[in-house]
Symmetry: D2
Subunit: 388 residues, 4 copies
Amino acid sequence: MTDTPPRKLRYAMVGGGRDAFIGAVHRKAMALDGQIELVAGALSSSPGKARASGRDLGLADDRNHGDWQALLADELKRPKGERIDFVSIVTPNHVHFPVAQAFAEAGFHVVCDKPLVHTREQADALVATVAKKGTVFGVTYNYTGYPMVRQAREMVRSGLIGEVRKVVVEYNQGWLASHVEGSGGNKQADWRTDPARSGAAGAIGDIGSHAENLVATVTGLRVESLCADLGALVPGRMLDDDGSLLLRFEGGARGVLIASQINTGLENDLRLRVSGTLGTLEWHQEQPSRLVHLPHDGPLQVLTRGAPWLCESAKRASRLPAGHPEGFIEAFANVYAGVAADIRARLEGRTADPLAADYPRVEDGARGVRFIERTVASAKSELKWTPW
Amino acid sequence: MTDTPPRKLRYAMVGGGRDAFIGAVHRKAMALDGQIELVAGALSSSPGKARASGRDLGLADDRNHGDWQALLADELKRPKGERIDFVSIVTPNHVHFPVAQAFAEAGFHVVCDKPLVHTREQADALVATVAKKGTVFGVTYNYTGYPMVRQAREMVRSGLIGEVRKVVVEYNQGWLASHVEGSGGNKQADWRTDPARSGAAGAIGDIGSHAENLVATVTGLRVESLCADLGALVPGRMLDDDGSLLLRFEGGARGVLIASQINTGLENDLRLRVSGTLGTLEWHQEQPSRLVHLPHDGPLQVLTRGAPWLCESAKRASRLPAGHPEGFIEAFANVYAGVAADIRARLEGRTADPLAADYPRVEDGARGVRFIERTVASAKSELKWTPW
Amino acid sequence: MTDTPPRKLRYAMVGGGRDAFIGAVHRKAMALDGQIELVAGALSSSPGKARASGRDLGLADDRNHGDWQALLADELKRPKGERIDFVSIVTPNHVHFPVAQAFAEAGFHVVCDKPLVHTREQADALVATVAKKGTVFGVTYNYTGYPMVRQAREMVRSGLIGEVRKVVVEYNQGWLASHVEGSGGNKQADWRTDPARSGAAGAIGDIGSHAENLVATVTGLRVESLCADLGALVPGRMLDDDGSLLLRFEGGARGVLIASQINTGLENDLRLRVSGTLGTLEWHQEQPSRLVHLPHDGPLQVLTRGAPWLCESAKRASRLPAGHPEGFIEAFANVYAGVAADIRARLEGRTADPLAADYPRVEDGARGVRFIERTVASAKSELKWTPW
Amino acid sequence: MTDTPPRKLRYAMVGGGRDAFIGAVHRKAMALDGQIELVAGALSSSPGKARASGRDLGLADDRNHGDWQALLADELKRPKGERIDFVSIVTPNHVHFPVAQAFAEAGFHVVCDKPLVHTREQADALVATVAKKGTVFGVTYNYTGYPMVRQAREMVRSGLIGEVRKVVVEYNQGWLASHVEGSGGNKQADWRTDPARSGAAGAIGDIGSHAENLVATVTGLRVESLCADLGALVPGRMLDDDGSLLLRFEGGARGVLIASQINTGLENDLRLRVSGTLGTLEWHQEQPSRLVHLPHDGPLQVLTRGAPWLCESAKRASRLPAGHPEGFIEAFANVYAGVAADIRARLEGRTADPLAADYPRVEDGARGVRFIERTVASAKSELKWTPW
């Protein structure tokens, strides 16, 4: 450990003002470790609310902007030593693309919420921009920040459960089980069920994309073709609130993906089961510190966060000893820690340690957009299999 | 309670000799309550083994037969007061039809294991025979004998969880995760993976049929169309060992059914989740005495077997106080108790109490055969939806 | 396997008539495997009810007695080939001693419910009689019949968890949380809270004795001294309904034993935790097929009934494959199977296989009586430690 | 919400430098909500390490002190608008008293880790000082910061489970199951097993005190007398590593408290069961978002953090929607949030909202010291009951 510790990274936030839910989570995640600080923002699409939100958060007046264009212009005018290190985009989905594209094009590092953008073309454009600029671009698929998801990834990738044959992933919630949108009382419900702001998909876009990313992260499998049934089961809903997919992966593994927001009583029931020739892994987001390993030839094991026998990647993602629960915010913080490690490496002119710079990237976001697009296409098709 | 208790019912068993697994379970289930006794049998397709098995079980020589034809002929010759009350058929699947049809045609009550028969035509013939003869015909979909499955049925049918929107049923096992058949060491694996004896389907026939029946029993929903992906994922296997289906039910509910025998490390993981507009129910066979109820508007509840607030049907299916675990054999015994109640009612010239005569019937078995047939058809189809 | 299978063992039951709870459980347990049959009885202390109960169960009139003395006299008159092989005593506690002593003295094998008798003197007398006669005497500490309890015993005894340091056993129920006795509506509550019929202890005698036996069975540890706090927490109750003990074992291990019947909402919450220098074991009766092993140096393991890696003793105590729940009746049946194996060995003039003749004996019952006596003495003492 | 948000509170930390465990947790907890900032410190008893640690954390040189005396002197010299709002003391136990006393005496608000001090006399002195100065003094019994502990408190205090009859609290860990102290490799183990630094008790002081506080917080019961067995079960250990207590509460309830650090394989197993005449509550720290309620007359309920039907106190202690796991740090942060609310109220010249200023106080800390003292006295006594 050195006596001259690295300075805190500085960020600006776009979106996440008063009444928003996820922006505050991002801020808490970044605050947790005392390594990242908020210095600027354009916290709402409404200029008045944007500035009021910025004042709540203690932003200096000259860095508290009414819209993201002003934020970007201002940052570009500032000297390097004062400028933000990255921007965090936590707006509703339809705003992701213009903001992300503009900041990336201007050479800023970016963190953007998921699903990344609305269309495959936007995704491709963003990937191209990031490649051209060589910047850092993280996507907050926050569930992959859980230590035991990283442990699962290590166990699958290293061959511990053999060749993967079957994957079942579910993401079930109940909060959209009745027609809560449009009443003005539920901002989340309003925009998430509105195609103009949410995109072509509802539940599949919001939570199905997390499920897709979880499978891809843990298994590395690539979808070859899929068969989707999407439904808007609550009368009057404009986007799907329930989806089920059959998956075929390259190499022959099969899968099922379920994403539903009409499962009354369920909270945030994201769960994954991966069966290989040598064993099965099970993980459940609501008990994130446990990873169940069922070997074909021995007793069930429960690996827990904080244990000395976990892989290095899981260990690094953990802050507390075993038995001291960590949760959602820590997982989120791990995604940001990965981004921060990558940015710091660039600031210091070195290549980041891959174990440290462990975060979902723009390509993961683009694959997620592709997944949504292919799912919607399949749902409309009379043929069983829609190729990837 | 009367001072002249009813005599024990007498049964013959076809199949279930030495080395067989499920026959012994049927016998234990029937022995449990001391109300049913084994008096005759043709316990194997091999006459020598049949008779040796009968001697193991204490059968009298003149009722211990080398084949089922001899058993049937002998029973028909006996006076009514000595004759069996019913036959229990626990052979491999391909033998079900001729035996069941012959005994039913001869006017005997029958209990037959599932899947009932190989083809829709056989199923229709059997339904017709039973209807013509007016006899009792039970099918041992044993999982519906669990008290908490009956509680779930009552809660769904009475509207407690509102209109059903989504059903997810899984039946996962790991015992066929490697190529164990054909070695001679695993009789179960041998016949269950052999199309000649098992029928057109493997996992879908063996355990998928239980899953289908569980959904039908609990929800009463009727499948409108289905979309299946079946795979023989273990190299060299002749029948499917992994299947996943999307389901659409009449009335608009959606469903997913998974049946897989290659989930390494999983034991007998049958689980059901039914989400309605007012709440969700979850049941897991490996913890059969618990039924989780997640109301939309209140805390999660866990109903347990033996509690005074359960429905009458669940109470009747229970033998011990709460907290004293009951299991698979008791559930099996409940199916037989239902059959026995129906037979006793006929012996006494009355209509059975529906709460007592609660068991899966030949029509349930026929619907299960239909399910297998439609699933296999869908798996071969390039179209997404195969109508029921 | 031989072609001349052993005949069924014959038993008489004392107690267990109409309205009794536990007698029916014993009968189901004995019926389960088809190896033991009821042939005689004196099923109630009321002669009329005794005979009516016998008729319910199909007893022949000449073996259906109004009191146990008549049963004993009749059995002694019968030729050996017709006589019972053993008697099963399932009366309230205060009747255990005279019946057990009389049958044992007459040379009969005996199975008796727990707690064995009321006083240490009675227990010593019974042990002496059994030793003198050389007969089989089983005590239905049924929880030790669970396969995973036997697995725990093997793991502790073989040193897998090292030297035992701490034992925590709890047995919590809620059924006596209000003053249900004396109303006539709850026969169990009536006699179990009545010192004349239940003995010097209530909860400690009824369920504390199971807890003591579970610890002794699994660990083999001997109590050196104990410190008890017993309370009758429900106003008006005549015996303890809640007890907690500190235990010191020979060799230095420490323990806590809790037995309480006023834990509202709890069902039959018997649980054991044994910590040794190398690992900890946890078992919970309400999920009896799971044994949790927490090694000091590796991930938590859950061993499940039916797995091929269990010890021989656990395997023999199992009837179904893993994942097919077994329960209370099977555990009970295992105690009887152990007794039966011992009786059969004697019938055949050989020493029983210890793995087969695995059941709690009269000495275990006597130690249980000692435990109750010492606990009651400690509860009255002002000194902390009461020696064993 | 106002447009002029309150400024962040400023704090200094004493202890918690490089290599310390709990100091970092305190800092993360305070950072989480962006309302409290570290501005000064004396982060180690070693001046060099103190200053290096302060630099790691970005402290300005003039507020980064080599010892706490210098910190205190410096703060007293600063103008009010720059001075710290409170000090957070996270040193080993033996340092708590002088630091806390000095800062309290100087009129500073204080947060101090538990157990508060070594002796009853110290505790009384501290209580007197705080009373005299009228300052805020929080003790980080962090487990009471969990939302579901607050929900349990509300349910017990409001009479929902009736009159409390039995309390069982356990706090089990395994990290001291071998003789890890003295090797230099485990700083925690070193000081916690050293009487000079840890105090008169080991496990009872470190974790038993949490258990005592949990019971007192949830139930409000007062211990009348207790009976303790303490052991140093690891050879060579100087303080207890395993303790078990029988408790009698004023009013007649009984209890058991277990605190052990030699339970191999257990992580941080703090669990509470409270049985009243109408129901039982169970809470387990390793699944902190669940509170199990077992009513005497209805099905088991699982209340989960984030649900709309929780009490106001539980709701305020929650940051994320249900199903998005919160953990240890959030609970810790809630204690600090309570302290902060009280300090802010004083800054604004008003009485704090009791729902906001919800945190363990100096009197709770003093009661914890009393508990340790009485427990140690009981452990040495030959009499069963040691009065409080």
